[in-house]
Symmetry: C2
Subunit: 214 residues, 2 copies
């Protein structure tokens, strides 16, 4: 069971749908448990069975899930994750968070901790944090017709956490997880989201990233 913290936004719902479609059980978390449950019902209909899709309050996720995925906006990280630190303990926590600005075109904003993923690690000090799904478009995730052809760039400082993240990403049709190195590379991976969005705007396409030669 993958617990998606802040999973009722576009990225969270999109990932819940794609994971459920791949047969992975998901638990969509929200500040408001009712909103989590409503999102789960919508995603379950879209995914059409095969996996369990449930909703809950964010606070329930650490106890009920095997791994956590954070899709909270950067600005909401402290308020959402701070109270969960003890419950989360040393769980594997995947961060899909990007701190971007769209003023004058997409661009990554500096993060005091180094990256959004390192901010997640600061707020959950015992957790084994990785990056995942940062560059995958929420629009494409939720578009049931979109066929993915891209990689999920994963970094992290705990080998087992990286391995489990890579395996999870690779379960989604058309995606492949690629271990890229330590967490200190997270900012670059997060910032590439701005480049991908810019490529989309420049060419009117739906771009993704692939690592070739692998």
């Amino acid at each position: 069971m993958i617990g998606i913290i802040g999973g009722t936004g576009p990225q969270g719902r999109g990932l819940a749908y794609r994971l459920a479609r791949a047969g992975v059980d998901v638990l969509i978390g929200s500040r408001d448990p009712e909103r989590g449950i409503a999102a789960a019902e919508e995603v379950a209909l879209l995914a059409g069975g095969g996996a369990t899709v449930q909703g809950a309050g964010n606070a329930e996720l650490p106890a009920r899930a095997d791994m956590l995925l954070v899709t909270v906006p950067y600005e909401g990280l402290e308020a959402t994750l701070g109270p969960l630190a003890d419950e989360v303990g040393d769980m594997v926590v995947m961060s899909a968070v990007n701190k971007l600005s769209f003023a004058g075109g997409p661009q990554a904003l500096p993060v005091e901790a180094g990256s959004s993923a390192e901010e997640v690690a600061r707020l959950l000090p015992a957790a084994r944090v990785t990056t995942a799904f940062n560059n995958v478009s929420a629009t494409h995730l939720r578009n049931t017709e979109h066929v993915f052809d891209e990689d999920v760039l994963v970094c992290g400082d705990d080998d087992e956490a990286v391995k489990r993240t890579v395996e999870l990403a690779s379960q989604v049709e058309g995606l492949r997880g690629v271990a890229c190195g330590p967490l200190r590379l997270a900012f670059t991976i997060e910032a590439m989201t701005a480049v991908v969005i810019s490529v989309n705007a420049t060419h009117g396409v739906t771009a993704g990233l692939r690592i070739t030669g692998l």
Copy 2:
């Protein structure tokens, strides 16, 4: 004719070889004209005819070349480019410069101007600066057997400069230039070189980047 400023290093020689092999005339620049000429002779032998490969002092390049390509290490930019600003004028100047650290693994270092490319633009204020070839391995460039399968991410603020850079990159076998947006995305593209090097170290491969869906 492409003038390669600081072209006697591994990246400069490698790009000179690949461009010459694609039929593009190159002029390899060095602080010491004799070193430029010696590098040109080596590259000409490797490329085996079809294009002109010449060497010269860096100062001669603006007058003799149609476009410039900068492959000077970041630390040498000011000393090398500063004296050339008037000569360069509004030429198209491609920057392949990355400011990286390898202490404790590859990582991009912060640049006061925002990126190495923006530092090039600061030193050559009238030039139309683009990024190009930042993520292409010098080792692969010089390996005559290596078959490329990757994109050259190009950004810049002058549309014609971006177009000419994209076209040049696409002339090299196995490479494709992709316009990615404005110059303020340059730091992310430069920093991706550290991620690519880290992927190589993690997997023992020769990785490249592709934009899919394009």
